[in-house]
Structure formats: C-alpha cells, structure tokens
C-alpha cells in the first residue's frame, strides 16, 4: 500500500486549541447565555458545524485532498440535509 503524494501539514496543535476554545465557548453559551432559545440553538449548531468542519478539513486532510475525494466525502451531506429538512417539515405540519 504505497502513499503517492506528500501532503502539506497544517499546525495540528493550533486546530486542537481552536477546538478546545470552541468547546468551552459552547458549554459557556449553553449554561450562561440569556439568548432566546431559537437563537441559542442556531448559535450552538453553528459552533458544532464549525468544529466538525475543522476536523474534516485539517485532521481528515480534506483541505489537501484531490477534488474527487472531496466530492466523495461530501456526497452524503446533501442527502443528510434533505433528510433533516424533510423531518422538520413533517414536524411543522
């Protein structure tokens, strides 16, 4: 199993630090924030998506992969969004 390409290496410890800070911010917001509930949910989900994107881009190296691998990895995302939206619409009915 040969490796064919050499990837650029990001600063993994900086990403780790960023993930740590975002987690602390998330917990702080969930506990202390006086935000309206709908805004709170949007902010927390936004932070979680940001963290997940950091992991996928830098730890799973998607940022440095070929386009075809990025497309393969992204393929289920529209389906996942459609599934969640369909469920939310079902709930809203």
């Amino acid at each position: 199993m040969e490796m064919v390409e050499k990837k650029k290496q990001p600063n993994y410890y900086f990403i780790w630090f960023l993930l740590l800070v975002l987690t602390v911010v998330e917990v702080g917001i969930a506990y202390l924030s006086g935000l309206p509930r709908s805004v709170l949910i949007l902010v927390l989900v936004g932070l979680a998506i940001w963290k997940a994107t950091l992991v996928a881009m830098y730890y799973m190296h998607l940022r440095f992969e070929r386009l075809r691998v990025i497309l393969l990895a992204s393929a289920p995302l529209p389906l996942a969004v459609i599934l969640v939206l369909a469920i939310l619409l079902e709930y809203a009915r």
């Binding site: 199993m1 040969e2 490796m3 064919v4 050499k6 990837k7 290496q9 993994y12 410890y13 990403i15 780790w16 993930l19 740590l20 987690t23 998330e26 917990v27 969930a30 506990y31 202390l32 709170l40 949910i41 927390l44 989900v45 932070l47 979680a48 998506i49 963290k51 997940a52 992991v55 996928a56 830098y58 730890y59 799973m60 070929r66 075809r68 691998v69 393969l72 990895a73 393929a75 289920p76 995302l77 389906l79 996942a80 599934l83 969640v84 469920i87 939310l88 079902e90 709930y91």
Partner: protein, 216 residues
C-alpha cells in the same frame, strides 16, 4: 499506485479515484455512516420537537433540568479531541518516517480512546443509579420532562457512538501493535491513515452529538 491492478481471472481494475483501495473503501464506508447517524439525529429531532416538554441544560433538575452531567461530558469531549490530535500527529510522524513518535502517538490515542469509553461507562452507571434509563424510574419520570423518550433517544445515540469508539479502540490496538513491530514505514503506512480517518470521523460525530444531546 495509479497503474491498473490485475484481479483474479486477469481482469484489469480501473484506478478511477486514484487513491488506494483501503482509503477509498473507508471514505465510502464513512459516507454510509453519515447517513446512519443522520437517521438517528433525525429520529431524535422529530421525537424531541414532538414532545410537549424536554429537559434543558442549566436548569435545576426539579425545575425541568437535565439529569445529564454536562461538565463530565465536556471533559470527555476534550479527551476525544485530544485523541484526534495524537492520531493525526502519529500519521504526520510516519509520513516523515519517524517510527518512534508514531508509536508514542498511537499509544496515546489508544489510551485516550479507552479513557473516553471508560468515562462514558461511568456516566451510564451513575445515570442508571439515579434512575435515568431508557425507561426511567417512576421517581425521576415525575421531575424530568418526557423522561422515557429522553432516556431512549439518549442511550440509542450515545450508545451507538460509544460502540463506534470501542470498535475504533480495538482497531487502534491492532494498528499500534503492528507499529511496535515495525509494520509501518515512510513509504507504506496506509493502515495508519485509514484507521485515522475512522477515528476522526468518530470525533466529528461526537462533536455534533454533544451539542444536540447535551447542550440544546
């Protein structure tokens, strides 16, 4: 790597994606896993928003608060994030041909992964003792809103994730033993990359679950 591979019967396989088979297989598997966890999250959304009330974080238990220990789980999230950085550093080490650091980082990843599972088991034991189960105790059901529904969805989602982490730890042990036997080199270390992809995916899923199940 990019040349055609001869399969049994003399059939030439097309190197379409130009990545090695194990990595391609892992990405396809992870794509299916995205849909698996989306199904679970979708079920949680419809059950939760369909319920008349739900336990909230930051509220005392007797006022409709959550029985979950958010501080402990936040620490566990930190443990899993640490295991992701050790995993990727192990991979980066062997890319440079650094076997010594590969072994160190893989060992650290195994220990951190096992710690995550251990803390989750402790959390389950504590919650069960308090009566928070897929079918809550009668006492807890009177104070926690939609307790049975909350318990069922909580254990389903975190349980499936915990099973994924446990399988990941077992695979990681295998990769670590192979690393200690000198099985990976600068030129050939696909096993480390493939198990790393799985491990980071498990971390990524937890990031989403932690927010949805514990914080919202």
């Amino acid at each position: 790597m990019n040349e055609a591979i001869t399969l049994p019967g003399g059939v030439k396989a097309e190197p379409g994606m130009r990545i090695y088979n194990q990595k391609l297989g892992m990405w396809v598997f992870l794509a299916s896993e995205v849909m698996f966890f989306t199904g679970l999250i979708g079920a949680y959304i419809i059950l939760r928003f369909g319920a008349s009330a739900w336990a909230l974080p930051g509220v005392p238990l007797d006022e409709g608060g959550t029985p979950l220990n958010i501080n402990l789980t936040a620490f566990n999230t930190f443990v899993l994030i640490c295991s992701s950085v050790t995993m990727v550093k192990g991979f980066a080490s062997i890319e440079q041909g650094d076997q010594k650091n590969l072994k160190r980082f893989l060992l650290a990843t195994v220990l951190l992964g096992a710690a995550f599972v251990g803390i989750q088991v402790m959390e389950y034991i504590e919650l069960a003792r308090e009566g928070f189960l897929p079918h809550c105790s009668e006492e807890l059901a009177t104070v926690v809103p939609s307790c049975h529904l909350f318990g069922s969805t909580f254990y389903t989602m975190t349980g499936f994730h915990g099973a994924h982490v446990s399988i990941g730890v077992l695979c990681m042990v295998w990769v670590t033993v192979k690393a200690f036997r000198g099985g990976y080199t600068k030129e050939s270390h696909g096993g480390v990359e493939v198990i790393g992809l799985y491990w980071h995916f498990v971390d990524l899923v937890w990031i989403i679950l932690f927010t949805i199940v514990y914080l919202i």
